[in-house]
């Protein structure tokens, strides 16, 4: 029984990691109706920037907001320079551009920072807390809590502010929003900036729990996709709930389903993605969408 509890608790910890990156994916989707394949790499790169700042003597609490600001600016810059020229292009073009971006950023990180794994500090301690007989570290809890805070902030932004409304309008009804005076292009840039900032927070929280290296987010992003898809790609709440569910499911499947075993855990994420998309494409919390001729 204790083993099961521990597997679930550890799964929740993993889930927090997936949720934090999934929030960034959801933000981008809300901003432009597209998932950004480069989200994980951007988050990793921002974390390396934080690492560099800290190494040059800045305190963690100064480096963190500075990095988030830099990440925001970076996201806006990328949208202006790389995405805007292909805004109207078909989905395939955009997918390839974001994939190209992912490759570019990953290669750049490897080139600039090397492939040796680095220690990244965390404001939370590594000591653990006993939860119904299972153990969870403060760092793991920190990831979940911070994801929750970010979730609330995103929800407030999207649902309760004018800017959030403008962003969502620009994403789904471009021409109509233009007619109403919404600066569509800048809304998209804002969306990219915010997603990048959320990604930076994710990376900064996750790097201490895992290891900081250029390939940090390479497999995490797939679990994050699974989380976003499961929760409903438009819903930040879905991202967090989805993340936790994916984390627990992957752990339990790996531990208790002999067919899956310890080596096919990623396949579980794949199965979740495909299964959800076929059975209930809008996920747990999403709304159905209409495709026009």
């Amino acid at each position: 029984m204790q083993e099961l509890t521990q597997q679930v608790v550890s799964g929740l910890a993993n889930g927090g990691i997936f949720a934090s990156l999934a929030l960034a994916l959801v933000l981008i989707y809300n901003a432009m109706g597209l998932v950004n394949f480069a989200q994980g790499e951007m988050a990793m790169f921002a974390t390396f920037i934080a690492f560099t700042l800290i190494n040059h003597g800045f305190s963690y609490w100064f480096a963190l907001p500075l990095t988030v600001a830099i990440a925001f600016a970076g996201g806006v810059l990328i949208q202006r320079v790389v995405i805007r020229p292909v805004e109207r292009a078909p989905v395939l073009t955009l997918v390839i551009v974001t994939l190209g971006l992912a490759t570019l950023i990953n290669g750049a990180a490897g080139f600039l920072f090397g492939y040796v794994p680095r220690v990244f500090p965390s404001p939370f301690s590594v000591s653990t807390v006993n939860l119904l007989g299972a153990y969870l570290s403060y760092q793991d809890m920190g990831v979940i809590v911070v994801s929750g805070v970010v979730l609330v902030l995103i929800y407030l932004l999207l649902q309760r502010t004018t800017i959030g409304l403008m962003m969502r309008a620009a994403a789904h009804h471009r021409e109509a929003s233009r007619l109403l005076g919404v600066r569509v292009s800048w809304m998209l840039a804002l969306g990219w900036g915010l997603a990048s900032a959320v990604g930076a927070v994710s990376g900064i929280m996750v790097a201490p729990v895992l290891v900081l290296e250029p390939n940090l987010m390479q497999t995490i992003i797939i679990y994050a996709f699974a989380a976003a898809v499961l929760g409903g790609i438009e819903s930040p709440l879905g991202a967090v709930v989805g993340g936790l569910i994916v984390g627990v499911t992957v752990n339990l499947a790996g531990a208790y389903i002999p067919f899956v075993g310890g080596d096919l855990q990623l396949a579980v994420a794949l199965a979740i993605i495909v299964g959800v998309l076929i059975v209930k494409p809008n996920g747990l919390f999403g709304r159905p969408s209409v495709r026009n001729v």
């Binding site: 078909p90 395939l92 551009v97 080139f111 797939i222 996709f225 998309l277 495709r291």
Partner: protein
């Protein structure tokens, strides 16, 4: 006879270009080294799979980030048949193609329910999972040990013909496999050309451009889309089998995510919805990593700083940057650029007088 002469006279210049290119490839191994022939074999193999991927992505508008996985199916089918069942390697190639085609067709069924973005996601996840999936059935695939494939000996008739033409050393296995790959590439290109020229091609393009409208026209969306998947998988399977035989070894690490990604990149950069595009794509896919890591650093006229930065940054940075630039400035790929440039040149040459006629520019998508 008269008909043939008439056809020859009215054939568009493109056809002559195709003939010249084909002859170039046929003659290539007689003038370059065996090693260089093996390099061009890899180009042809990539061109084959990209041709298939092009049918799926360019003509029917479905994204696949998982064609590396399909190549793996083809490669392992061939390897297992050769290794365990002692089937002749040439026979395994069409079997690998058909089996992979079936797998692709089956994959196409759930894919119907996925929109473009989600299909990209799902196939992306498939590509990442592929090495782990290969490792699982150890009895069948050899797991991480992989399967070794002996380099096939050229048959006597080929050796004799080659020796007669070149008068040089005996035909190597690499040169023989070059010709096998070339033959299959020409055959499969011709097959693809016929598909896109006729009804299936038109139906697929209609689906790609305006799916809902196409359905109202009575086009069987599901049939054509799954067919596109099946056909593109067939190509990937054939290419995969060749990939395995020419490498002499198949293993889980031979089919990483990077491969699937490179294939999609090659397709787009070559030029979507074109027949020549895949060849350009194959050249690009094979040569870019080599050029960025070896060529640049060995050129004395490039300053050492730039060269070493280029080399150390690796093909990843170059790929990424090139991809973005091409998608922004030349979304129809290199072939699209060439065709557009040619059309503009033609318009110039014909003179200003044509501007009033309202002539449409030649459609780059029809051959």
């Amino acid at each position: 006879m008269q008909l043939i002469q008439q056809r020859l006279r009215t054939a568009p210049p493109r056809y002559w270009l195709v003939l010249v290119v084909a002859l170039f490839f046929v003659g290539l191994p007689t003038v370059v080294s065996s090693f260089q022939s093996s390099e061009w074999t890899q180009v042809l193999i990539f061109a084959i799979v990209i041709m298939g991927l092009n049918i799926l992505v360019g003509y029917s508008g479905q994204i696949s980030l998982g064609h590396g996985a399909l190549m793996a199916v083809g490669a392992y089918t061939s390897a297992i048949l050769i290794h365990r069942y002692h089937v002749d390697y040439l026979v395994t190639i069409p079997i690998a193609g058909l089996l992979t085609g079936l797998v692709g067709f089956l994959l196409g069924i759930p894919a119907l329910r996925l929109s473009a973005l989600y299909l990209a996601l799902a196939t992306f996840a498939l590509a990442v999972v592929t090495p782990s999936l290969i490792k699982r059935p150890v009895e069948l695939t050899g797991g991480v040990q992989g399967i070794l494939i002996a380099a096939p000996d050229p048959p006597q008739f080929a050796k004799d013909a080659f020796a007669a033409i070149t008068g040089g050393p005996a035909m190597t296995s690499d040169q023989w496999m070059y010709y096998v790959s070339l033959f299959l590439a020409l055959l499969l290109f011709w097959f693809a050309w016929n598909i896109v020229r006729h009804r299936p091609g038109r139906a697929m393009r209609a689906i790609r451009d305006r799916e809902v409208a196409a359905a109202t026209f009575g086009i069987n969306i599901a049939a054509y889309k799954t067919m596109a998947f099946g056909i593109s998988a067939f190509y990937a399977g054939v290419a995969g089998a060749l990939y395995g035989v020419t490498s002499g070894f198949v293993s889980p690490d031979s089919f990483p995510l990077a491969l699937s990604f490179q294939l999609l990149v090659g397709t787009v950069i070559g030029g979507l919805a074109s027949i020549a595009g895949p060849l350009v794509g194959g050249i690009f896919t094979f040569w870019l990593p080599i050029i960025s890591s070896q060529f640049v650093s060995s050129q004395p006229w490039i300053p050492a700083q730039i060269a070493s930065a280029f080399q150390k940054a690796g093909p990843a940075v170059t790929y990424g940057a090139l991809l973005i630039v091409i998608m922004i400035f030349a979304p129809n790929g290199i072939v699209g650029l060439v065709v557009a440039g040619y059309a503009r040149l033609q318009a110039r040459l014909r003179g200003a007088g044509d501007r009033g006629t309202g002539q449409m520019p030649p459609d780059p998508q029809t051959v």
